[in-house]
Symmetry: C2
Subunit: 400 residues, 2 copies
């Protein structure tokens, strides 16, 4: 990529972030009355549900805090509003998010009354990251303490993440999901400076070990979403499930940590695995990445398997831009450009701002929402901030 | 409808049932080695997963048993094979389906080892109906005993159907789902002759009372899938959810029981309510019924909301044919003809038999499977047998 192209790309991402994404959430999401955020926002920002999903609250605290911490370093204007908005969510979480045992509810109502039990450990991961980042932005000690105690609880819970709500009978078929090592890799990075390095290094390496020891299958050239504890892939819908977005997301987390320790061998390996996931996940007929595939091409149990989701494409952008930045590979650049082109012609809404979340296979908008139970202010700003940073670094070194 | 049209329609349904649907399941579904049925069948019948989902096992026992019991009465050839196939499933269920406390697992592996805990009461409903019908076909006492003990357990469990796996916090928002009264209405009919009439009448009337007292909203002209225990519809995604297929399914169960007691007022009421559900659920642009809608037109939380599902259309056929049979209403006949036309131009697969299950909004096949975790040998044969009976009765009376 020529320097001029990098600059143009960076300006496109900066504009999308600052003129479209951030204003949408600043305007429609804060609940000034009850605290926290509305995340169920229709195309034009209309709030269509006031329930508060703790995943989404934690993620939005993270994104506003990160935006605040990131802006100056990225030569952007730092706005106090972002810190205020981060605080709005952080305080709501502190007051309403936690069950008696210290775990985080899945959902509470507008005013904080719990609606869904804390069965989902990913609530805890996102709140931990959100409060840690908010602590960096605000210096608030309570936020750090809460983040650290949640981090401890995650370590206790993660061997059986659904606890008493577990329905799978592990004695007869034990499948490990890639979500846990993926989140551990992210967490290990997010908590730098707040938790002892040895703890975080161990977490990062365990995650990398699980992904490369179990989920990545070199013989089959695939990244399996679930894998038996003996490393096999049961011949079942679960055992054959491919989730290209998840694979690319975990791969860029691991690529970044391999780059941090200058592990060239691992960098090459990850870049190769990325190509498998991309080519088996891409829809050659209509463009875009499928949400789910079956390794053998059978139907999955997921009705939405053919849909094109915003976060899959956001994570794929990070994966291939970082791969290109580290290796200069033309093949990875070509993938990046293909994904960038699909993404920016399909997801952003020029009229009301933000990205659509859910397209049908053909690329038409299937759900008009900009935010909901599972889509909030997270993947898009994370991707844009991350890619802007990398593009700026690449411009400076002008290595290629 | 003219008599000649009724006959032509009946012959179409008979042919679809006997030449396409039944042979597909006879050929591809039996697991002669381990017992029970394979239900994960790709387009051509290839087994893509050997796990056994208890819903699907119970439903298939029901369908083969019913087919056997129904054939002679419907002037069709009764085949012993159907009884053998019903027994294959019934014996598998008896040996492998039940947890220690008498509840039915959600899933077991091919050989019957439990994989998913008995968290889902609908497993119990379908097994109960299946074993009761198998008892009628075979005279086997153990099948009746097992059906009756399961029926008792359902009554004990149904106030809190997910038991220890409940994640909703009912103290803060209690929503009743329409699935339970729907299944109770069906069960009350299915167990006639095996359980005391007073018990079944009470069950049927309680179901009717819940649906008309809570789910059917005359002011809003809608059938809500979930409703608060005070009859209100919370302004949330859950509270506004419409499920046109479910609504039409429960409505024809209730229409049949109203007809059984010659309750003309209720018949008229149900026929009116059907029209609300049909018109709000029909996709005027592409044809077919949506899977889910939001009462106010907001997005639902369901990614698959726009898809066109086989069972929705099968149940809608029963609803409108019975409404027309009972009332002679031209409006209901027009709906029936519209649904019949969409269904038979979109779902059946002339090449390999059976119906596709999952179409995208535009009517293209989204998942190639003929059977899976949620689609088995049930809705289609039930609809076809039921409609064939009604058409034959209509031909005889030649009332219209």
């Amino acid at each position: 990529m020529k320097t001029q192209e990098m600059i143009a790309l960076r300006l496109k991402y900066e504009s999308n972030l600052m003129d479209s994404i951030v204003p949408f959430w600043e305007k429609h999401s804060p609940d000034r009355k009850a605290g926290g955020y509305f995340t169920c926002l229709d195309r034009d920002g209309t709030v269509f549900d006031t329930d508060k999903f703790i995943w989404m609250q934690g993620r939005e605290v993270w994104a506003f805090s990160r935006l605040y911490n990131w802006a100056s370093q990225a030569s952007m204007e730092r706005r106090n509003k972002w810190l205020e908005l981060a605080e709005l969510g952080a305080r709501f979480l502190r007051s309403n998010g936690r069950a008696g045992n210290g775990d985080w509810y899945f959902a509470v109502d507008r005013n904080g009354k719990p609606l869904v039990e804390p069965y989902n450990i990913f609530s805890d991961y996102f709140v931990t990251a959100g409060l840690a980042e908010f602590h960096r932005a605000s210096g608030e000690k309570w936020a750090l303490e809460l983040a650290l105690s949640s981090f401890s609880r995650i370590q206790e819970r993660k061997a059986r993440p659904k606890g008493i709500w577990t329905k799978q009978i592990a004695a007869n078929r034990s499948l490990m999901a890639m979500g846990i090592p993926m989140m551990d890799a992210w967490m290990a990075r997010e908590l730098r400076g707040l938790v002892e390095p040895a703890t975080l290094d161990a977490l990062a390496m365990a995650a990398e070990g699980q992904v490369f020891g179990f989920h990545v299958d070199r013989d089959r050239k695939a990244v399996f979403e679930r894998v038996a504890s003996d490393g096999s892939h049961p011949e079942s819908m679960d055992g054959r499930l491919l989730n290209p977005g998840h694979a690319l997301e975990v791969l860029w987390f691991l690529l970044r940590q391999a780059a941090d320790r200058s592990d060239q061998e691992r960098i090459q390996e990850i870049c190769e695995v990325m190509l498998w996931s991309a080519s088996s996940g891409w829809d050659e007929q209509c463009g875009g990445f499928f949400y789910y595939r079956d390794f053998r091409g059978y139907p999955t149990e997921k009705l939405e398997a053919d849909m094109k989701l915003w976060w899959v494409h956001a994570e794929a952008l990070c994966a291939f831009l970082l791969a290109y930045k580290l290796t200069g590979s033309a093949e990875h650049l070509a993938w990046f450009e293909r994904i960038d082109s699909y993404t920016f012609t399909h997801f952003p809404d020029p009229e009301f701002g933000e990205w659509y979340g859910y397209l049908d296979r053909g690329g038409e908008v299937a759900l008009s929402l900009k935010g909901g139970k599972w889509k909030g202010f997270f993947h898009v700003p994370r991707t844009l901030m991350t890619c802007i940073d990398w593009l700026r670094e690449m411009e400076k070194t002008d290595a290629r």
